[in-house]
Amino acid sequence: MTTAGFISIAVTLLLILLLARPAGHYLARAFDYERTGLDRIFLPAEKLICRLGGIRGDNQTWKQYAFTLVLSNSVMIVITYLIFRFQSFLPLNPGNIGNMEPTLALNTAISFMTNTNLQHYSGESGLSYLSQMVAIVFLMFTAPASALSVIMAFIRGLAGKPLGNFFVDLIRSITRALLPIAFIAALAFVCLGVPQTLEPAAVVTTLEGAEQQIARGPVASFLSIKELGNNGGGFFGVNSAHPLENPNALSNLIQILLMMLITTATPFAYGKMVGSPKQGRVLFVSMMMLFLLMLGVSISAEQAGNPLLNSLGIEDSQGSMEGKEVRFGLAQSSLYSVVTTASETGAVNTMHDTLTPIGGMVTIANMMLNTVFGGIGAGFLNVLMYAMIAVFLSGLMVGRTPEFLGKKIEGKEMKLIAATLLVHPVLILVPSAIALALQPDSISNPGFHGLTQVLYEYTSSAANNGSGFEGLGDNTPFWNLSTGIVMYIGRYFAMVALLAVAASLAAKNAVPVSAGTFRTDNRLFAGVFIGVVLIVGALTFFPALVMGPIAEHLTLKP
């Protein structure tokens, strides 16, 4: 990697670090039900929305909160499904794009509602402008807003407060966090050359005199929420590798910052909301260590390149450049691939399919762990679940019933946590096995790489990431429905179960801290947490990874 590449990564990481804490404190204030200074700016508009929706905003029980979450999200899936199905009859369709096939429409609706943005279609040819703007962009706001609401309710529960009201949180997520930032970012993207227009594709004559259609549209507004909301679905098929969706290094930097902004801020918001900033900082540092580990492995693998190609005498000082954009180079491509999978965004500026086997494994591993920051809300929810498992094991080791933030973790909570822990690997391993057995023809590669493609598809679905390893003929009813189910369960099971945990903990008396308490705000806990994430997370997927990327890596010899 070049010095410039190294510096560009260092600067990006530094900016992420600088933004996380203030953003976290802002989030904590934004979701504080006590009166804060922010109310003066946002409350009038929010009150109006509440009145229009007939929402009173009373505190909800965990069951009400979870029910409103699942019901409102499901209703939105139905609405967008209908828009996709009938887009050819609806306005704003200058490209005369036809109606979507039913299973693809369902898959796409679930995909965007669950913040996954797995795309079994190509944006330019599959969706009308109305579908892009009303259906897709609408879900790109409500999906992360739903998850942000859930994590805030969960944290309130840990802090021993009522969980709050889903609708109030949903509105606040949009008015106070997503909309203002996305608006500013969109303007920045426009300045950097990203199109924002309702005109149909531009028709130009090339130098050779041929006629070419250049797809365009309201890209900038789409792009900003795509990154900020950890959505990841591309306006264009090739996503952020497309010059109009990611024109230069600066737009690339902004995209990375947007992907990481809210998810790195959440631990700080958590620390503030539970009244102990150290608790949040420890988790942030732990996740950052995992992130750096992943990044290090990815970069060194990409730098080493493909020994088969290297042995042919191809210039290899740049590392593996296959599938990468020269305007980003190895450093920014590797970084982007780690960021987009760590934050479960799914936007890509390089084709993950063409990463080296180990570089590709890093992207899958991020999604398998789903705790290297993770997507807005959902990621940190997972992190707190792993923290509780770490607390449970370490509590036993010091001879006390485990406590997390002073609340005892007992049988009831552990049952819910154990079930949640189970869901993620099952959602990845079982459908992958079924697909490998039933759909070998839709997999473009034989052998280890083909296995990785399938594994990637379901890992990406279960973790609600949405990026693809490509190479799958995945627009078939089998893939559409199976990934649809995986995305839906992967999204809501953990949220509902962990809301129940939060409510159960909130109802408990907090045990005061003493010398006998196992502390969760120091380096030792960070170590235990990382250990638990790696061992519990990695043990589950080790055999699958061995048969996919690791075998591919080992057999890649000249």
């Binding site: 094991l393 010091v398 049952k415 096995a433 006998g516």
Partner: protein
């Protein structure tokens, strides 16, 4: 208990081995899901021994047989661990059952004695028990005083005094009256007596899983399901790669990955934890209570008898103006020569300690004056006519004045100083002269300070309860190093303190023996009643200390913690083991089809077959190797949680990662010779 020492006698081991086979019954195995999976694996491989190609496999028959045998032993080892832990309780129960024979009781009916069988006695019946006879059932002394030999229950051979009324009125069936005769009202029906309950408890027949055990079990089941999914999906993956997967190898992988070590030892740890408490002569009514004691945040202790010896002891002589300390000591000694009270004896001990000498012969032939509540003095009338007295300051003062003597000017100020420091002053006088004062102090038991210091390190707060005035209480509290005290406390105060602490989310333990302690014992999360105490107290408590030593609560806390720690340590160890097992089995599974996978064979195991068998053998033998640890519990020293965790992580976490690498490699070195 007499059978205490028979921990690992040959008989116990034989019994346990037999039980291990009985427990193979799937209906029993089902209760332990982790080991049940292993048993199913065993059945499948057994079938494969008979029909080797049932799944189209190509592994040789001997491999199937070896795997079957190892799996069988894995299950047997786990069963053996449980049976061994249970066996120790059973041996105790048997010796208790011997105590519980049917005897003839003298039932008191309308003023006359009627001979009935002890099994016909009902609650409310009254029986007479003369010296030399066994008490036929649990009850309360309603008349008389007797010394009772309770060694059958407590193991303590010195008889204890039981008398009607007060806190020493309860007697236990199966104990023996040694002297005198008592009338007892039976308080428990047959089958519900203390002895009956004790037998049930030590047998562990009604053992219920504790909350923490349930939580841990949930995690283990979840891990088992995850690994089941991992292994079941594996052949689909390998099919796609056109690599053949053998069923016995998949079963081997599954058994190695699921947490069999902790799964096999979990119930043994629980039983052994209860048992450790019993060995300690404390009877826990449930495992939940033992577990809760590990979580205790606050301990409420009675001052008298727990923290201090309860009797005041002489600690200093303070002479009045014009007298020498040695004279005061000498007369104090003369007055105490025949005084058998603890105070009197302590005076003589103090003199010995200080090195004062006095003439014992002075007292020869003197008339000892015993302490009486009216006079509040004791002493001796010497042969030469001199009268020596020691006693309450104002009583002695009055006595001296009545003989025309005078009171030293500094007496008042000295005695006030002693009183305000929490002590009791005794004046010493000979005829009309007051020589000085004996400073009596309630003495803190040796070692208590260190124990409270330990508890503070463990994060446990200690509260001392005493009937003393606040001044005295504060002095003792300071001296003993307790965190807090309640002076002039009434029984209600204890409940109030317990409720206050509980409202803050803390778990509270207390000890007590009197009937008036019963409500507080019931309110406390861990209540330990003294066996010498009343029936009401014992009923309300969730533990009974057979030795009636209230300070034992501290050890009970340690045992509770130890039980949780042992579970945590072995769980961590078990999960960490998986890393090495993966590196043994995964390369072995693929090395034939993909030779490059040999790069993952970092242990350089000889062949795929020996690698798999070595991992499987390691997985099996680690269970019996860890039985002693499971039964004894991991070492526990009071220290802060963070240090404890670092230490245990190092031993069981890091150890759990490294030990199997070494173990599997060693086994492979042996196994590969005949593979």
């Amino acid at each position: 208990m007499n059978t205490k020492k028979t921990m690992l006698g040959g008989d116990t081991i034989r019994q346990a081995a037999k039980q291990a086979i009985v427990k193979l019954d799937p209906r029993i195995m089902f209760r332990n899901p982790v080991m049940f999976v292993v048993e199913i694996g065993f059945v499948i491989t057994l079938l494969l021994c008979i029909f080797p190609d049932a799944f189209g496999g190509t592994v040789p028959r001997w491999f199937n047989i070896t795997t079957t045998v190892i799996l069988l032993f894995t299950v047997l080892f786990a069963n053996f661990a449980e049976a061994l832990a249970e066996g120790r309780g059973k041996a105790q129960a048997d010796s208790l059952k011997k105590t519980k024979q049917d005897i003839t009781a003298r039932k008191w009916v309308n003023g006359s004695v009627k001979q009935v069988s002890s099994s016909d006695l009902k609650k409310g019946d009254v029986v007479i028990v003369p010296a030399g006879e066994m008490i036929p059932g649990d009850g309360e002394v309603i008349e008389g005083l007797a010394s009772v030999d309770e060694s059958a229950i407590t193991g303590e051979s010195a008889p204890v005094i039981k008398e009607a009324g007060g806190d020493f009125s309860s007697v236990t069936g199966g104990t023996k009256v040694v002297s005198d005769q008592i009338k007892v009202r039976i308080t428990a029906d047959q089958g519900e007596s203390f002895l009956d309950r004790m037998i049930v408890l030590v047998e562990g027949a009604e053992r219920q899983k504790t909350p923490n055990e349930i939580a841990l079990n949930t995690v283990l089941v979840s891990l088992t399901i995850i690994f089941l999914v991992v292994v079941v999906t594996l052949p689909f993956y390998s099919d796609f790669l056109q690599i053949q997967m053998e069923v016995p190898i998949l079963i081997a992988l599954l058994v190695c990955l699921i947490p069999t070590t902790i799964g096999g030892l979990l119930s043994a740890i629980g039983i052994a934890g209860m048992d450790r408490v019993t060995q300690f002569n404390v009877l826990a009514m449930s495992g939940k209570a033992v577990e809760a004691s590990g979580d205790i945040n606050t301990i409420i202790l009675d001052k008298t008898g727990t923290i201090t010896f309860g009797n005041r002891m002489a600690s200093e002589f303070i002479s009045a103006a014009g007298h020498k300390n040695s004279d005061t000591a000498c007369w104090a000694a003369i007055s105490s020569l025949k005084d058998e009270t603890p105070e009197g004896r302590s005076v003589l001990e103090l003199i010995k300690k200080l090195g004062h000498s006095y003439d014992e012969k002075l007292a020869d032939g003197g008339e000892f004056i015993e302490f009486r509540a009216e006079t509040r003095m004791s002493g001796i009338n010497l042969k030469d006519g001199r009268q020596v007295r020691k006693g309450a300051v104002d009583a002695v003062k009055k006595w001296v004045l009545s003989q025309g003597g005078s009171v030293p000017k500094d007496l008042e100020s000295n005695s006030d100083a002693i009183a305000s420091a929490g002590g009791t002053p005794l004046a010493v006088a000979v005829d009309d002269t007051i020589y000085g004062l004996i400073y009596l102090k309630d003495t803190v038991k040796p070692g208590m300070r260190e124990r409270f210091e330990q508890m503070r390190r463990m994060g446990i707060k200690t509260i001392m309860c005493t009937g003393d005035n606040p001044l005295t209480a504060a002095t003792i509290a300071r001296e003993a190093g307790v965190d807090d005290f309640i002076a002039e406390s009434k029984p209600e105060d204890k409940i109030a303190v317990i409720r206050r602490e509980q409202a803050e989310g803390k778990l509270v333990a207390m000890t007590g023996d009197g009937t008036n302690d019963a409500p507080a014992l019931a309110q406390a999360d861990v209540g330990i009643a003294m066996n010498s105490g009343t029936v009401a107290a014992k009923e309300a408590a969730n533990m009974v200390d057979l030795d009636s030593d209230p300070s034992k609560i501290i050890e009970v806390v340690a045992i509770g913690k130890q039980m949780l720690m042992t579970r945590g340590a072995l769980t961590t160890f078990s999960i960490a083991n998986d890393i090495a097992k993966y590196f043994a089995i995964i390369p072995a599974m693929f090395m034939l089809a993909v030779p490059e996978m040999g790069a993952l064979n970092i242990m350089k195991l000889d062949s795929p077959v020996s690698a798999i068998l070595s991992a499987l053998i390691f997985n099996a033998v680690i269970i019996p190797l860890l039985i002693p640890l499971a039964i004894k519990g991991v070492a526990y020293k009071p220290m802060s949680s963070n240090r404890l965790l670092s230490r245990n992580l190092l031993i069981y976490g890091l150890g759990g990662i490294l030990v199997p690498f070494a173990g599997i490699k060693l086994i492979d070195l042996a196994v590969h010779h005949w593979v």
